[in-house]
């Protein structure tokens, strides 16, 4: 019997693809509170994974572990099948893992352009290249159909939806391989939600792996290929989208349908 055959469990057809990112037995404890109690998760290229669960189920914590914001207490992360040991967001960014945070992580005192390029400012010599950043920023925001009249306005003066759009544009615009979105549409109006869903389908087609956290169940069926359900810090179920329906997902979230 070959070792390779033993190492590869075949639970679904998609498992043949090497996951971009694979989490194994992730634990995270805050003080005495076990936010994550051993989570396994595979994320494959060109796929959108929906991550759902009740409030405080641990979705944001898990996604922050993926993005390098939290270092897990236990567990292993593999990128492209190889063990990865990133310990901060910068190292995750260098692996092309990008995230839209639930709290957006914007700097209120900095203008729109500055926030879009936060942490990777374009430079000319030793100085910031404001002109080029302005031009690029226009292009980044155009993809999201959001209207921001003045790109040099401070972010603190913008509406909630505009701020959210900036956070999405920032994460999506720098060739991510893994794009994590933690409730990216919670403050968006109808047209803007459509634009975000389109964006997800567009980057998926380019082979990007998307993790979408949302409480808007109907959106899941528009973009997701697979759904993972979290409950009290564990992953309780995983479903291919074609094998499930709204009612089953709702039951799984509240803990009625667990097998």
């Amino acid at each position: 019997m070959s070792a390779a055959a033993l190492a590869q469990p075949h639970d679904s057809a998609a498992a043949d693809v090497v996951p971009i990112l694979s989490l194994h037995d992730i634990h995270k404890t805050f003080g005495s509170h076990q936010a994550l109690r051993g989570v396994d998760l595979d994320i494959r290229p060109g796929e959108c994974l929906g991550l759902i669960g009740d409030n405080a189920a641990g979705k944001s914590t898990l996604s922050k572990v993926i993005a390098g914001t939290y270092v897990p207490d236990e567990g292993a992360i593999k990128v492209d099948g190889r063990p990865a040991h990133y310990t901060n967001p910068l190292e995750a960014r260098e692996l092309n893992i990008e995230m839209v945070y639930q709290d957006l992580a914007l700097c209120n005192h900095i203008d729109v352009v500055g926030n879009l390029f936060l942490g990777r400012e374009l430079k000319r010599g030793p100085f910031l290249d404001q002109k080029r950043m302005l031009a690029e920023a226009d292009r980044m925001l155009a993809a999201l159909e959001i209207r921001i009249p003045r790109l040099t306005a401070k972010v603190e003066n913008l509406s909630g939806g505009q701020r959210q759009a900036i956070a999405i544009a920032r994460a999506a615009s720098f060739q991510p391989r893994v794009l994590i979105m933690d409730e990216p549409t919670s403050a968006l109006a109808v047209a803007e939600v459509e634009a975000v869903l389109e964006l997800i389908n567009r980057v998926k087609a380019k082979g990007v792996a998307v993790v979408l956290i949302t409480h808007r169940m109907q959106d899941l069926f528009r973009v997701c290929d697979r759904i993972a359900v979290m409950y009290e810090g564990t992953k309780v179920a995983e479903r291919m989208i074609e094998d499930t329906n709204l009612q089953e997902l709702v039951d799984l979230v509240v803990g009625k349908g667990g097998h």
């Binding site: 914007l106 900095i110 430079k123 030793p126």
Partner: protein
């Protein structure tokens, strides 16, 4: 039927004015001070006196530029006065011990960076509030200066080049003032145009966001105290060069003048904002008031009362007026 119309954008002038309201108001206040003191005393507006004002303002301005960075990270450095005193005394001791003055200057800059680095380490990597760390620094550094000098002033002899830094002139302008202007321009460019300036603002605005986008947030936070330490060293050197001696009693109440200059200039204590132009105007206002009161033969002790009052009023205006955003009239909507 409803008709859809676009919002009219307000006039760019109103936008400009509301964005720079604080700098404009401190500029106005500065001009008022100038007018007041020249009306009170005919000697005030003489070139001799004005050069004296800028010469005296130079050390304040240099440290205020650095303090602008510190306050932009929502920190504070209360130790600057004591640090100036310590380095001021040390440079005199070192030169008296026979070290050549250019090397002494290098050593002092290093010493400032080192002291700032230690304070920055406690603040950034150990999470102790800047207020506490630098309050301790205020006591320790002044104490160290007194301990070294036993309270005596130490004369500096035979260092012509060194004295030139404090007393010299280039085309009729005092060297310390020119140096201070250079530092202010440098500060302006760094904050406006460089990645480091952007990082300082980000850390002050939202440290966690800065970390998440991959900025070395802790290192940036610690670095502003190093910058403050170096600025203190420069100020201490200029003071020693002007007075020809070093003393542990130098720069009494200096931290108050510096902080007053920065907040008067509109840099918010909550962080995330830095106004170099405001800091320059704030410093000049503080210097003009100090000088003007002396010319009016008012007790020098009164200056302290005025400086304290200015800090209080400036912060009060900062929180009361500007947080609610200044608007010039109401914009008309279609």
């Amino acid at each position: 039927m409803a008709t859809y119309t676009e919002r009219q954008s307000g006039s760019w002038l109103a936008d400009l004015v509301s964005e720079h309201a604080q700098v404009l108001s401190i500029a106005l206040f500065f001009l008022l001070c100038l007018a007041f003191f020249s009306a009170m005393n005919p000697n005030f507006l003489t070139s001799g006196n004005l050069l004296n004002v800028v010469r005296q303002a130079a050390p304040i301005l240099i440290v205020a530029v650095a303090m602008t960075l510190v306050i932009a990270t929502s920190g504070i450095d209360l130790s600057v006065g004591s640090m100036v005193a310590l380095i001021n005394a040390t440079v005199a001791i070192v030169i008296a011990a026979g070290v050549s003055w250019p090397i002494a200057i290098m050593l002092m800059l290093l010493m400032g960076a080192l002291i700032g680095g230690v304070q920055g380490w406690f603040i950034s990597y150990q999470g102790i509030p800047a207020f506490i760390v630098t309050l301790a620094g205020l006591s320790i550094l002044r104490g160290a200066a007194l301990f070294m000098t036993e309270g005596y002033s130490i004369p500096i002899r035979d260092a012509g080049g060194f004295f030139w830094l404090g007393r010299g002139e280039i085309v009729g302008l005092p060297v310390p003032a020119l140096l201070a202007v250079l530092v202010a321009v440098l500060g302006f460019v760094v904050m406006r145009r460089t990645t480091y300036g952007r990082q300082v603002i980000s850390v002050g605005s939202n440290m966690e966001a800065a970390r998440r986008v991959g900025m070395p947030a802790r290192r940036v936070l610690a670095s502003v105290y190093v910058v403050a330490g170096i600025a203190c060293a420069v100020a201490a050197i200029l003071l020693a060069a002007r007075l020809g001696s070093g003393s542990s009693n130098a720069a009494q109440g200096f931290e108050l003048q510096v902080i007053a200059a920065v907040v008067l200039g509109g840099t918010a204590l909550q962080g995330g904002k830095a106004s170099m132009l405001g800091t320059v105007l704030g410093t000049m206002t503080i210097a003009v008031i100090g000088n003007g009161l002396i010319l009016m033969h008012i007790s020098p002790f009164f200056t302290q009362i005025v400086t304290g009052t200015i800090i209080l009023v400036a912060i009060w205006m900062n929180t009361r007026l500007f947080d609610r955003r200044w608007r010039l009239g109401k914009r008309k909507t279609a």
